[in-house]
Symmetry: C2
């Protein structure tokens, strides 16, 4: 952790009482260990909670052998945390009593709120209001609760512990779904992964996923975070949590469902969640280096590998294999995962060829099954891969050889030594030797049967490393322009002027009220020019023939001016005509042509203004080839967005074109993002389409722009 | 199997002696069970080979307790199969002796052939020649051999059996790599999958992967085939094998490595293989419904699910889940895998809501954890999903609930009954209950912990089903045109004429030697027209200004004719000028514009002529958005290729365009494929670029075409 992380941590620590309590009251406590109100008590009794358990039950003197209290009021003190396990209709008064007693952290198991119907949603609003009035951090309702095995606190009614108790380890789970959160826990347990903290947020009436992620980002109980989300409901805490986790070098691997349209529909029928726009969530996750898991298995693979806490900032993969075929397979997987596999230095290759004549020492380094006849060669190969190759991650493929009666022990001994000699590397073993895995893991190795899964996990470690390194670089804040939005939706000319002032250049143009002014303007701009009718009442100029291209000289400007006025009078007799716009004509065909881009901003209900960039026309409409980013962002980030487009080669000299002015495009995109951030919530959206990007050094120009404002409320 | 499969099977049955021998000679037999020449004997002795074992060793009277023979000549008879485990330099004379003895199947373990160097490649050629002279089916050299556990035949020196012997089951492995083939076997064994036949082909001097696949396609020992390939070396047997496997409803799941550029490089350094073009291999696999696995784990998942032999021709997925979150996750995975999840009928949804008020019965059908309090509801839900929903595949998600002390047994009992009532469905369980898996499997369920892996496997079963169904439809052979290729590379006009004759229409045009003829031609074609200089010596017309567009009337034709002749004389004084080509000008902009496509054919060294189609310009060059297919193919297949393009919406009315004449395009593409198939090996390639596709009903026209011929040999 860096020193300046401390202040940001403070806010999230307000969840300490929820996750790390010294006293727990259970309202609706049951004497039956299998009932919802009985389970937390049964679990904590069995495992020895490091604190006091206060059952509340008006009908019993004892609950599961513990002294019971007849009411909240009768409790000996305000509990650090209270669990509400009573029917929904009693939850609100109970919460109020707890607040009055001084309790400031409550877990509500009770269902029947927003997940149910409109009346439930209303009840949930009242519940939230009571919590806020008392300053209570409230988890749920309709949640499966929390456990923190490090203090044997089980504020949950999950049945997962039937499978077994958590094993030591610092993987935390933060999940909006109780069933899924405990599914991950159970799957981790089957794999022997240490997942000791699990927090499920249910309906998120008060505590939301961001709070929980933030708590984990600052809690010593957690090194690695597995998160499950259906939709992000609030952004401030969520963003702060991602930022803090990154600063504290704690990787987050997230399963965000609702990626598909089908999934999106199911997510909405499942909860009262705003599913949000998946693309926006993806952009936010990318921003903070959160790796998105495609499957639960992948989530656990990544969390498992991350537990080694080796996150190379510039990840390279060296592969040592006894099977050439597996080497090719691994190379395919590495390319797909975007992880570099630079070749071994020539001299090292030469040396290895000297050891095993028909080895393939490039990378993958195929030492061939020959080494199993001369076992000390294994160390020579592995040492060369580590030292000569200098890879940050090393994947060692041995298949069932690692389980062999003769080779197995010798291999293990050598692998242990090589790993100990280079503890800074991420050492990953791919072998079919289930009964050897624990031994290798004890030596600090990460073990996968399937080499492709190993590659995915290794690639993720590099993504975390790169993101952590990025967070450490000092970054200047993006300066925001002063933006004064007009009262009503501005015309194209006003929109372009506003944007130009903010740093998004517009095509040079002049509004001219008479033909002489138009000729003068054209001369100043340079021929050819475009003429457009200028009227606040004519929105779709081209439909009435209101745009003239290729206007080449003064005579044509005069003629064109007259033609446009004629057409306007004829097609839109009632329109107020202000004159004609004379604009520079940017070539979009032939030598020196501009590339048409589309820039935009829209307002995401959770994350606020989000900017978009794409190549114009078919790229956006047919291929959905666009990049998104929360506003504002700097030009470096803008350029990264542009370069991420599949169609980027079109800007980069494909098909013999000159390279386009990507720097100017990035500057305009960043400026647009700053404009949107500065404009505030009245800005509904911006479309700059097309933005014409000229060859390198010649800039870019908005040829059209629309600014939309929120309807007045 | 269908009755007419028999004749095609006959050829592949020639491998019977290799895989199903009654007598085995081991040349280079060792008394040491751990040595390469000792292992096959040790394995067969331990497990009781259903036949005779004849060790050949001139220095010993017995080998591992068996009578040894001093030479091949001394053998009591010709063995069904012989294993050559002697150094490379002795392999050829040994093979010759075996041939003379009458042996017709040989496995060569010996290394030191084409995988080594040029001298080795030459030795391999001699080995092959000896095998062919004797009519021997030769596996290897440099291969790990074969095993067929059903008769306890282990013609292999793999050390994999240290892990355990094969378990019963009918998954076969065909692998070019010995290490990878046995890796798959070992990984399968760890999962308890029955993989009793494994054939590794090594250097493929004679028997290649296609022969092995073909043998498995007709062998009763194998229901499901796992294949590993680095490069396909021959096509006839390979194609016949894929065809036969499909006809016999045996799914093939293939790991084809060398997908990446990196992988491709590694594959070439690893073996003497021609890696071939991965895209072409992919097209061939698609043609025959071979599913390509991305990872070994996925290969085994698919093979495991396929062992149930339920392959729905029109696959639909119904999901029954206790977790809404998992339901969303599964929906995402299903959409990504392209498997349909139609909703439950309204009435059924109503009924289920009556059973559990807050269930989500659409599909995924989330019965919620409520059912664990009222267990008979499980059957009601499952029965409704099967009967009302009518899904062909049903994924049932229970996470750790399935392992629960109370719920577990009741769930299992109900799931067993429901599966028994609907044995035609593919029933898949996703649960975290390792110790229950075997019970469910015994009842015919397929079990996966991870629901995403389950979805991938289910989707593959549907791909097989669709492919098997397609194979059963009668298909007319594609009629081939009569093609007479010219002696030398034809001009554009000749190329277009040849293609037009074969059914690829060219833009209407006339070669005119004088200005009057040009005017007459233009009048016939209709204005506007394009004029192009016509000369066998001017290949790049536009570079000398030799193309005039928008020629609108007779006067302009006359002027244009003169202009072109002037320009040709000026820029290419030595060129022979034949006149001017007058062609219909097809609009590519504005209303009624044509869509520019690119069609082509190239000759793959293994699979022969392969056709390609893509949208013109950036789509091909920047996005590599193209589809490939072996020639010839019918219009239905051609249309499928066109529809598979990412840019297909551009032909289908995107951006307010009229729909393009896709039927004409498909017809032209199919005709091009027939042309290429008929033209024979002298045809090196064809480029039709652009092919202009007009709006629906108006046809398509080749605007330019190049035919390349093989250089004379």
């Amino acid at each position: 952790m860096t020193a300046d992380a401390a202040p940001a941590n403070a806010g999230f620590a307000s969840l300490d009482a929820l996750v790390r309590p010294r006293s727990v009251a259970v309202i609706g406590a049951s004497d039956e260990p299998a009932r919802i109100g009985g389970r937390p008590i049964a679990y904590m009794k069995e495992r020895g909670f490091h604190g006091e358990i206060w059952p509340v039950n008006p009908k019993r003197a004892t609950v599961q052998g513990l002294t019971a209290f007849p009411s909240v009021e009768a409790l000996p003190a305000a509990p650090d945390v209270a669990i509400i396990a009573v029917p929904a209709e009693h939850a609100i008064p109970t919460l109020d009593s707890l607040g009055k007693k001084g309790c400031r952290a409550v877990i509500v198991f009770s269902a029947g709120f927003a997940e149910m119907d409109a009346a439930g949603a209303e009840a949930q609003d009242r519940l939230t209001a009571v919590a806020k009035r008392h300053g209570i951090r409230l988890l749920g309702p309709n949640c499966l609760g929390v456990f923190n095995d490090s203090i044997r606190f089980y504020g949950t009614f999950t049945a997962s512990f039937e499978k077994g108790w958590p094993v030591p380890g610092r993987i935390g789970v933060a999940s909006q779904s109780g069933a899924y959160g405990t599914h991950v826990f159970a799957a981790a347990l089957d794999r022997g992964l240490g997942m000791q903290v699990c927090i499920t947020t249910g309906n998120e009436a008060e505590v939301a996923l961001g709070d929980v992620l933030g708590w984990m980002a600052q809690a010593p109980e957690v090194d690695v975070i597995c998160a499950y989300a259906e939709g992000i409901r609030e952004s401030a805490q969520f963003i702060a949590a991602l930022e803090l986790a990154r600063r504290n070098r704690k990787p987050i691997v997230m399963m965000k469902v609702g990626r598909s349209q089908l999934g999106g529909a199911a997510a909405q029928s499942h909860t009262a969640s705003i599913a949000g726009d998946d693309a926006v969530t993806q952009a936010v996750l990318d921003e903070f280096g959160v790796v998105r898991a495609r499957t639960t298995e992948e989530m656990l693979d990544i969390a498992y590998a991350a537990s080694r806490r080796i996150y190379p900032a510039r990840n390279t993969l060296g592969v040592l294999t006894v099977s050439g075929g597996a080497g090719v397979l691994i190379s395919d997987a590495a390319e797909a995962a975007g992880i570099a596999m630079p070749p071994m230095p020539e001299a090292a290759q030469e040396k290895l060829r000297g050891l095993v004549p028909f080895c393939a020492p490039r990378n993958p380094v195929d030492c061939t099954a020959q080494v199993t006849n001369n076992l000390p060669l294994i160390t020579e190969f592995a040492e060369s891969v580590a030292t000569d190759g200098g890879y940050t991650s090393i994947l060692s493929f041995w298949s069932q050889t690692a389980a062999g009666r003769s080779v197995g022990p010798a291999l293990h001994q050598q692998m242990r030594a090589i790993r100990a000699a280079h503890p800074d590397r991420l050492w990953v073993m791919s072998m079919l030797a289930p009964n050897k895995t624990a031994d290798y893991e004890a030596d600090g190795w990460v073990c996968f049967e399937d080499p492709s899964r190993a590659v995915t996990a290794i690639a993720a470690m590099g993504q975390y490393g790169a993101s952590f390194a990025k967070a450490e670089q000092p970054r200047a804040a993006v300066p925001l322009p002063k933006v004064v939005l007009p009262e009503t939706t501005p015309s194209e000319a006003v929109a372009k002027a506003l944007l130009a002032e903010a740093g998004v250049p517009a095509v040079p143009e002049h509004a001219c009220s008479d033909s002489e002014a138009a000729v003068a303007a054209a001369a100043q701009i340079g021929y050819p020019v475009v003429l457009k009718i200028l009227s606040p009442d004519i929105l779709h100029k081209s439909e009435i023939g209101g745009v003239l291209l290729d206007v080449a000289n003064a005579e044509q400007v005069k003629q064109g001016f007259a033609t446009l006025l004629d057409r306007a009078r004829h097609h839109a007799p009632a329109a107020r005509i202000e004159g004609v716009l004379v604009a520079k004509q940017i070539p979009t065909k032939g030598e020196g042509a501009a590339v048409e881009m589309a820039l935009g901003v829209f307002r995401d209900p959770v994350f606020g203004p989000v900017a978009m960039v794409g190549l114009g026309g078919i790229f956006i409409e047919v291929l959905k080839d666009v990049a998104f980013r929360r506003c504002p962002f700097d030009t470096m980030e803008a350029e990264r967005m542009v370069r991420s487009l599949r169609g980027f080669p079109l800007l980069d000299g494909a098909r013999g074109r000159p390279k386009a002015d990507v720097a100017a495009l990035a500057k305009a995109l960043s400026a647009l993002s700053a404009f949107a951030a500065a404009a505030g919530p009245r800005l509904a959206g911006v479309d700059v389409n097309p933005l014409l990007v000229l060859p390198d050094g010649q800039g870019c120009f908005a040829a059209d722009a629309v600014i939309e404002l929120q309807a007045a409320r």
